[in-house]
């Protein structure tokens, strides 16, 4: 047993923190919330130059060949910085799907571009009921010659307006997990229209209407009718990746709050000397350490290829709620200052709620855990 990251991972963490502190300050985060697309191309190219896009893809695709655990370290720092833009959509949701389901030819073609930051991907899974359930996939893809024609609606698709390709989870038959096929769709295709949602945290999500979108059959990722098994695998990685971002956000929330409790004076003494504030901070620190360990345990197991379905769901249900509890206490300790829109605390308060719900909330993951327990 070893709770420490290795030396390279510690270096990666430090480099990422330094870079993001200067290149993704809160002023940029704020600007990107206001921006239509929420994407800074300058920042994106700099991250690509650092090799971050290709961090966890194999070397034969022009990437770095790091582990999923390395990627988790990077994502933690991105969560800490509230990094705007499509990194998670493109690299985790899109890139991991391409890695899992893509043919050798597809990987050769797209992964090097992805690793250089020249192509941006996203993944469209959810539909109107918002459930991560294969039964909820209703968007149809009907064969016409060697093409497929897609009809339907996808919801909550992240960063679709800046994506070059959208991986669409579509129904080609059946009704459950069989009969689902993954299509790599050019985002500029005819018949595809986007309308943005206004989101709690200011990230960019879209309703996408597919009105007879024609996709060549060669753009299927994986086998026809067999797409859901890949989505399950990608969701496992995405859930842990999201947990890592929450760990980063939570760490920043804790540090900010403890610093404030040391500085802020009321009744002639720092508020952090009062028991009730100390206990709030301790509750936050306990949530923090629990979230960190349970998340990194899952990331490590995924990296090592060990069975970890239960660990992943436990990580999500715990970390999601822990981060949310922490941000509520952060507002409380900061007082009304922490409720003001120009303060940093609201960034984390908002993301905590959004990320708690994204990729399955506590109810969803409790059910997975119960099943894994044999219930």
């Amino acid at each position: 047993m070893d709770f420490n990251l290795n030396e390279e991972q510690e270096m990666l963490r430090k480099m990422a923190r330094d870079f993001l502190t200067t290149e993704s300050p809160k002023s940029l985060v704020r600007e990107m919330v206001e921006d239509d697309k929420g994407h800074s191309e300058i920042l994106w190219q700099r991250m690509a130059e650092l090799g971050w896009m290709g961090l966890a893809f194999p070397e034969e695709y022009g990437a770095t060949g790091g582990s999923f655990l390395d990627l988790a370290v990077l994502l933690e720092e991105m969560g800490r910085a509230c990094l705007p833009g499509p990194f998670f959509s493109s690299i985790v949701l899109g890139g991991m799907t391409l890695m899992e389901a893509g043919s050798e030819e597809q990987k050769q073609r797209f992964l090097p571009l992805l690793a250089e930051g020249k192509v941006i991907l996203t993944l469209a899974i959810l539909e109107e009921d918002g459930q991560y359930d294969p039964k909820s996939v209703k968007l149809t893809a009907n064969a016409e010659g060697s093409d497929y024609v897609l009809h339907g609606t996808k919801m909550f698709v992240p960063d679709a307006a800046v994506a070059d390709y959208i991986i669409c989870v579509a129904r080609t038959g059946g009704s459950g997990s069989s009969g689902i096929t993954l299509f790599l769709v050019d985002a500029k295709s005819q018949g595809l229209s986007l309308s943005p949602f206004i989101t709690l945290a200011g990230d960019k999500q879209y309703r996408i209407t597919w009105d007879g979108v024609r996709v060549p059959g060669e753009n299927i990722l994986g086998e026809k009718d067999n797409g859901w098994i890949y989505i399950e695998k990608v969701l496992q990685k995405a859930v842990v990746g999201l947990c890592a971002m929450m760990v980063g956000g939570a760490q920043q929330t804790l540090e900010m709050t403890v610093d404030y409790a040391k500085e802020r004076k009321q009744f002639g003494r720092p508020i952090g000397s009062f028991q009730i504030i100390q206990h709030h901070c301790t509750d936050m620190a306990t949530d923090m350490d629990g979230a960190r360990f349970i998340t990194y345990q899952a990331a490590w197991k995924l990296s090592e290829g060990l069975p970890c379905i239960k660990d992943i769901s436990i990580a999500k249900l715990w970390t999601g709620e822990a981060f949310r509890r922490m941000t509520s206490l952060a507002v409380q300790v900061h007082g009304t200052l922490g409720w003001m829109d120009d303060h940093d605390v609201p960034f984390y308060y908002k993301r905590a709620k959004a990320w708690e719900l994204w990729l399955g909330g506590a109810d969803f993951h409790q059910d997975v855990v119960a099943t894994e327990m044999g219930l």
Binding site: N6, Q9, G290, Q297, A362, V369, G374, L375
Partner: protein
Amino acid sequence: MDFVFTPEQERFRAEIREFLEKEIPPEFRRKPENNWIRGFCPELSRKLGQKGWIGLAWPKKYGGQEKSYMDRLVLTEELVCSGAPVFSHWFGDRQVGPAILAHGTEEQKQKFLTGITRGEIQFGVGMSEPEAGSDLASLQLRAIEEGDHFTINGQKVWTSGIHNAHYIYMVARTDPDTPKHRGISELVVDVNLPGITIRPLKDMTGEYDLNEVFFDNVKAPLDSLIGEKNHGWYQIAEQLDFERSGVERLMSNYPLLRDTVEYVRKAGLNKVDWIRRKLAQLEAEFEVGRLLVYRVAWMLSQGKVPNYEAAMAKGYGTAFEQRLSNAITQILGMYGQIADDSEDIPLIGRAVSAYLYCPAYTLQGGTSEILKGIVATRGLGLPTK
């Protein structure tokens, strides 16, 4: 980073499990909860001593095995989760031994550590007094050095395990004239000395685990002192970390969780949505607690001294014990308030016992409030005034 035990540790776990399956008497196996603190069985302690499984991390010359704290974690996890009645050696193994190892004389080490590792010496722990609970440093019991002995006068309360013990491990005021933290010493005193009176206290479970202990001109030899005189307050901090950091702070009721899952499945309640969720949530909270506890053992195995980490693990773990027993009484419905241990009662009243015992966990070894203060000041650096 890695989150698994080594193959040797897994083999050790299997060996312990096999041993315990044979050696735990049936009455303890039937009700495995809280047996590390309520299960008195000196025969088992002696057998564990023969296996070398007491004082596992201590030097070989005192009967230890010089194993790592991760090995000790594996051992204690198996003991607690199997319901092994190990109370008779638990305090010696967990905190008194380490205190003597850190601060005792060679003679004391030979005498006590060897006795502990054989499973032959049992300790009670005397910390609280009527006017000194969480504010332990204001303790009043005096041990005044007079010639070749200490004369001890005063009272301890909530003293655990003293009624079967050979010695009481305690803190006493050895200099009444200095500021309160600077006049305290650690002592190990023979409970059979004249002038010591023990009065058992009945707790809400109906049992007598705790006691009042009265000292009336007790004359204890000078070698009762552990470490430096008047330096006890600074010595015990570490010992309290040992008391706080173990798996027992999280897993005392683990058998109840495990058997409730089995019961729910057999009773066909496993499709009831709220029951599934409650058990899944407990499982998640348990796994998080496990890592908080493992972190402490891992730090010890790295030669690091946990302090706020131990306080955090105990605070979290003992709160979990309470949520666990509460949730299980709810799953059992009306049977959740039946204490009858006959076989036709689901889980034979174990949830009731767990529910009644669990408030003690957030009090003993530092209340949750004191522990939160430790995390805040020592861990987060928050000011005290």
